[in-house]
């Protein structure tokens, strides 16, 4: 049961449709410029499967707020502050070269957000919790304070396909229930259904 699978898949479309599995080398629908998203996926000791979707942006290294600021996950508030100040000075649009202004502004905003989250102990805790769950929601706004709103947004596209398959599972289950194989071990409900159908 304790095995690890690491699969490199194609980026998942927002609609939740799956793309051809890369093993076949079929044409991908991604543009080359965008680096692949990693879906690493392990089955843990209790059979609990976990997947971490790591969304990458231009800088492949910046996967989490911690990585962006360059502090370890156990970094203290002081370290975070210092890192933020450094990066802010580097990327602030007012001090950037004119041709890098846009890119730097974007980076600056991200750095700002990382700092806001990590410097507030409550938000940091929530962010750490999300990371532990394996979903990195870097660079999405938490301003409303709903701690798993983003979680829901990221997953809603997945839900539809999941419940569709569950519904087909229900049909199968229903067929099984209609024709119970063991006559002596009927549930109360099965017994009533049998009587009703007589």
């Amino acid at each position: 049961m304790c095995s690890s699978y690491a699969a490199v898949a194609q980026p998942l479309h927002r609609t939740g449709e799956s793309l051809p599995f890369p093993f076949f080398g079929s044409s991908t629908r991604t543009s080359v410029a965008r680096p692949p998203q990693f879906v690493s996926f392990q089955i843990g000791p209790r059979g609990a499967a976990r997947a971490s979707l790591i969304e990458t942006v231009e800088e492949p290294a910046a996967r989490t707020f911690y990585e962006l600021l360059g502090v370890p996950e156990t970094g203290t508030l002081l370290e975070i502050k210092q890192a933020y100040k450094q990066l802010a000075r580097k990327y602030h649009p007012d001090v950037s070269l004119p041709d890098r202004v846009e890119e730097h502004t974007r980076r600056f905003i991200r750095v700002q957000e990382a700092y806001e989250t990590l410097s507030d102990p409550k938000r940091r805790e929530l962010y750490d919790r999300d990371m532990a769950k394996g979903v990195h929601l870097a660079f999405t706004s938490r301003r409303r304070g709903k701690f798993d709103e983003e979680l829901q947004m990221a997953n809603k596209s997945e839900w539809k396909s999941r419940w569709q398959s569950q519904l087909s599972g229900l049909k199968k289950r229903s067929m099984q229930k209609e024709t119970p194989d063991d006559d002596n071990n009927l549930t109360w409900g099965a017994r009533m259904r049998r009587e009703r159908n007589k």
Binding site: F21, G47, K177, W188
Partner: protein, 691 residues
Amino acid sequence: MASVATWDRSASSPYLQEQSGKEKVKWNFASLAERGEYFSEKPPTPLLDTIDYPIHMKNLSTKELKQLADEPRSDVIFNVSKTGGHLGSSLGVIELTVAIHYVFNAPQDRILWDVGHQSYPHKILTGRRNMMPTLRQTDGLCGFTKRSESNYDCFGAGHSSTTISAGLGMAVGRDLQGRKNHVVAVIGDGAMIAGQAYEAMNNAGYLDSDMIVILNDNKQVSLPTANLDGPIPPVGALSSALSRLQSNRPLRELREVAKGVTKQIGGSMHELAAKVDEYARGLISGSGSTLFEELGLYYIGPVDGHNIDDLTAILKEVKSTKTTGPVSIHVVTEKGRGYSYAEKAADKYHGVAKFDPATGKQFKSSTPTQAYTTYFAEALIAEAEQDNIIVAIHAAMGGGTGLNLFDRRFPTRCFDVGIAEQHAVTFAAGLACEGLKPFCAIYSSFLQRAYDQVVHDVDLQKLPVRFAMDRAGLVGADGPTHCGAFDITYMACLPNMVVMAPADEAELFHMVATAAAIDDRPSCFRYPRGNGIGVELPPGNKGIPLEIGKGRILLEGERVALLGYGTAVQSCMTAAALMEPHGLQLTVADARFCKPLDQGLIRRLANSHEVLITVEEGAVGGFAAHVAQFMALDGLLDGKLKWRPLVLPDRYIDHGSPADQLMEAGLTSHHIAATVFNILGKAREALQIMS
């Protein structure tokens, strides 16, 4: 495309015309409000106007259904803004309600709403739309589901976590009688915390009867309500289990891997993939989806609870599947959805007073005194400042019990166990075993479900757990489901329990101190919903422990004595004032303790007066019964004493304004005065004072 017929509801509705004295609700057709902005006048609801009962919905197209899905929303907002009530929960289930009534055929199909406070859209869609302005008022619509109100309300609710049990009962009853209707039980994630929900699911899985349980997951397990600094993450481990369900991505990925594997292996891909699919599902289910599957309910979800297409698709599928056994559908909703002020509020506007729809501001009348709830919290904080082994426990009612204030001051000493009163009591008992001083703040009517724990775990073992029973007596708009009528009866009959009740807020402070001081046995005190009367509070909010088993005399008089218990003493004082102009000086006494009784006081009153009347806001078997028992055994009833107990009548008092309820119960000061007149033979004065 169905033609949209609109008829003018405001003019023709007989109910609205009856309310001549009260403000008529006018539906002015303003332009349709944009999402998030509300005008003071209700936007038009063309589709909803054509629907009186669910059967009128059956011919709507999917496009119309989508449009319809938003109309009850404005109805709910504008109605609740005028009457007050539970807003957030109803807003979260608008789409769900529309979908359920569209797919199923109530009332043949049984739809059950747990607690019932989210049933406003259900009521709107089932023939009670024009009565919504009377919501929670005397003789008006009940704020919860009520069987006697409508055929569409299958099961009355008010307390939580009962729907799966009742639904299972209805499903089994249907099976035994050979009927074919559906049973749908809607229960929230907060209510799922209670043990009864598991008892029911366990039984449902075992019996395997067809029924549908809809888990309405809005991530609000506890009611923060007033005085909160920010949103609190849900209480308890179940919520993280539910979120894991929501974020459980691996199923898809595993199946992708599996499909890839089968392709590589070749062979009959379809079969193999299906088998791997089954296997994969089972693998994940073994740990992931869970609880429900382990208990025998087929799990479907999570589903976006605000997407009416998804909801109708799923419900239709499940309905059309012939034999399902018990099925659980996990629907994710947002409490307060569609009204931006509710969405942003920490308590999601769970329970609101009248408010202005355009701004979301509630009209809270300013009173010179605060609620007893607040006084209790302040008293407890003052005690806990001086004694660091005082802890507080509540069951998902931080705002309602005032313990949010305590939690802010002592975050590590306040325990919210979720909707689990039974656990709360035994948990408190465990704390008491370790030498702590637990204060269990649970509403009088909610403590009913923990009665065995009170008897067996606390009282029998004589553990010093303190019970602070808020909402004792009649509670107004919430009605009989929340009425704390029975706590005197069920507490005072326990051998080891000290039972007391404050007459006003100052006494409440003293009783909190008294309870904190009682360390060798359990104790309890009850106080009503409402505000204090304005007596002077003890300095620093610190009460002084009272002498146990001693009452006090407030007014010295002759011939007639009124012995009040709890805030009924206030009515007694008013009654005495009413009788003064008639030349009668009444004695008014405050019993303070029901157990142990102030025997000396009762003897004194019985021996020196002709008439003794006890007054309490509780059912028969309470304070009056204990006094009667004592007097009988003491020989005080062998003489010429005229003894009358005034208690709540032996019936349930419907919801309404507190004043109306008190009138209905016959416990107003006028009633007391009339009783005195009647006993003294002055029938004429009795009638006069009652008119």
